[in-house]
């Protein structure tokens, strides 16, 4: 055999081995890969050590522990969540994931958090009610539930409210939206109440949450459509955690005790 042929065979063999290594790195323990938005405190974010933490993250870690699964926390770009799920890169989306309006797109667990969409304004702005927002500019996160609520053409009340605004502006993340609020580029930010509370308290209470809410909705754990087997396993464990008080304890740690929904 010529030297050149040997080289080619070696190269092909190397490629094949690398591919096999990539495909087969499952290991012995079953893995449970949770996809989440890592910029969504208090549900999922990074702590002092660069580790992922938050209400949903702690729940997911506990579920994996009780099932003897190896947990993998996979921060995802929110826009690519469906690719991630259908390609099997993640097993579920568990991160303040609103069920309303997405009922038929995923296999859902039962709802575990009562969420509402609220409006945050500067305390000094004098805005007290949704009516005061007439002629004002309101910020939302791109693809968020708040945006969906305000742009829902079936809801006449929201239609009327949204059309009273000067404009609705989309921002990629809440930090930028708050920067816009701070600098006066917008007058209000519409968002999930849990996130709003975190933002308001960590920004020294110079902002307030309006009492009037835009909409109420629920969070669930989203699995690939048809993956009821995994959904049932996870649900069973979550139910056990609710029964023995672990669930409530974790909720309390993140200031979400008032919003959780216990399964009977």
């Amino acid at each position: 055999m010529k030297k050149r042929n040997i080289k080619i065979i070696c190269a092909i063999a190397a490629v094949v081995i690398m591919t096999l290594a990539l495909v087969s790195c499952g290991g012995k323990k079953e893995t449970f890969t949770v996809g989440f938005d890592s910029e969504f405190p208090p549900y999922g974010y990074i702590d002092e050590n660069g580790e992922y933490t938050g209400f949903d993250i702690e729940l997911a870690i506990e579920v994996a522990k009780r099932n003897d699964w190896e947990i993998k926390l996979k921060p995802i770009d929110w826009d690519t969540k469906d690719f991630q799920l259908s390609s099997g890169a993640i097993d579920c989306i568990w991160n303040g994931f609103t069920m309303n309006g997405r009922e038929d797109s995923y296999t859902w667990s039962d709802a575990y958090v009562d969420n509402s969409q609220v409006v945050v304004v500067a305390a000094s702005s004098g805005i007290k009610t949704l009516g005061d927002l007439a002629g004002k500019t309101v910020a939302v996160q791109t693809d968020s539930s708040a945006e969906a609520v305000l742009k829902n053409t079936d809801n006449e009340k929201m239609q009327a409210l949204a059309s009273s605004f000067a404009a609705i502006k989309d921002y990629g993340d809440y930090n930028t939206a708050f920067l816009a609020l701070q600098s006066g580029a917008v007058d209000a930010v519409a968002m999930d109440i849990g996130v709003a509370k975190y933002q308001v308290s960590s920004r020294g209470n110079t902002y307030i949450i309006l009492n009037e809410q835009l909409a109420s909705e629920e969070y669930g754990i989203g699995f690939l459509l048809g993956n009821t087997a995994l959904r049932d396993k996870v649900s069973k464990t979550v139910k056990e955690m609710m029964a023995d008080g672990t669930f409530e304890k974790i909720a309390d740690k993140y200031g979400l005790k008032d919003s959780i929904k216990l399964w009977k």
Partner: protein, 218 residues
């Protein structure tokens, strides 16, 4: 979170950015030369294929190419790849994308060398490969260095696109810290790190340009 912790976390992301940068550069620079030679080949099929490749790589966003490399195997072959494939996908996409750009830069350099030099080398008895590597390439490298520097600096900043498929490099880290701390400081720090990185790159390339300046009459 203290300022020190922020820097520590950012530097963790910085390691990934540097990894993407170094691997992309080391692999795409030689690959680009190969692509440039195919692009100028006398074989019309090879030339045609290369032309299409360069056109697609330059004509579509790198972010889209990242998504195709990461999720394409599933949609086309139903291959399930777990998240250890993420870094491979990023490296593959960056290398094939940057090779296309480098190829066109090399081509501009190679075509700028006067035909007379090939003829002179032939008369001196140089073979095809010897002519190319001993006579043409040193001049090409010297001429393309400024354009290559441009591309390399863009590469440093492009590493942030790896976030599209969920790889945590420095800019994503900055976004995460900013969200957890509701602070804009991490962006400022990330900006400083990118600037220092690029300053070092530009400085190195300037030195390289000087080293290749040996043709000039002083």
């Amino acid at each position: 979170m203290s300022i020190l912790t922020m820097w520590k976390l950012l530097l963790q992301g910085f390691e990934i950015s540097v990894l993407i940068f170094v691997v992309t550069l080391v692999l795409s620079l030689p690959l680009g030369l190969g692509v440039a030679l195919c692009r100028m080949s006398k074989n019309p099929v090879l030339r045609g294929i290369t032309k299409v490749y360069i056109s697609v790589m330059r004509g579509t966003p790198l972010m889209l190419q990242l998504l195709v490399v990461r999720f394409g195997p599933w949609f086309v072959f139903k291959m399930k790849l777990d998240d250890s494939y993420d870094i491979w996908a990023v490296l593959i996409a960056f290398v094939i994308n940057y090779a296309a750009y480098f190829a066109e830069i090399y081509r501009s350099g190679i075509e700028s060398v006067p035909k007379g030099q090939y003829e002179a080398a032939q008369i001196l008895g140089f073979g095809r490969w010897r002519t190319f590597f001993a006579v043409i390439m040193p001049q090409v490298i010297k001429r393309v260095l400024p354009s290559v520097t441009n591309e390399i600096i863009t590469l440093v900043k492009d590493t942030s696109l790896a976030y599209a498929i969920g790889l945590i490099e420095m800019f994503t880290r900055a976004k995460q810290i900013a969200a957890a701390e509701t602070s804009m400081l991490p962006y400022l720090f990330a900006g400083i790190l990118y600037y220092i990185f690029n300053y070092v790159v530009a400085f190195g390339m300037e030195k390289a340009e000087k080293a290749f300046g040996y043709y000039e009459i002083k």
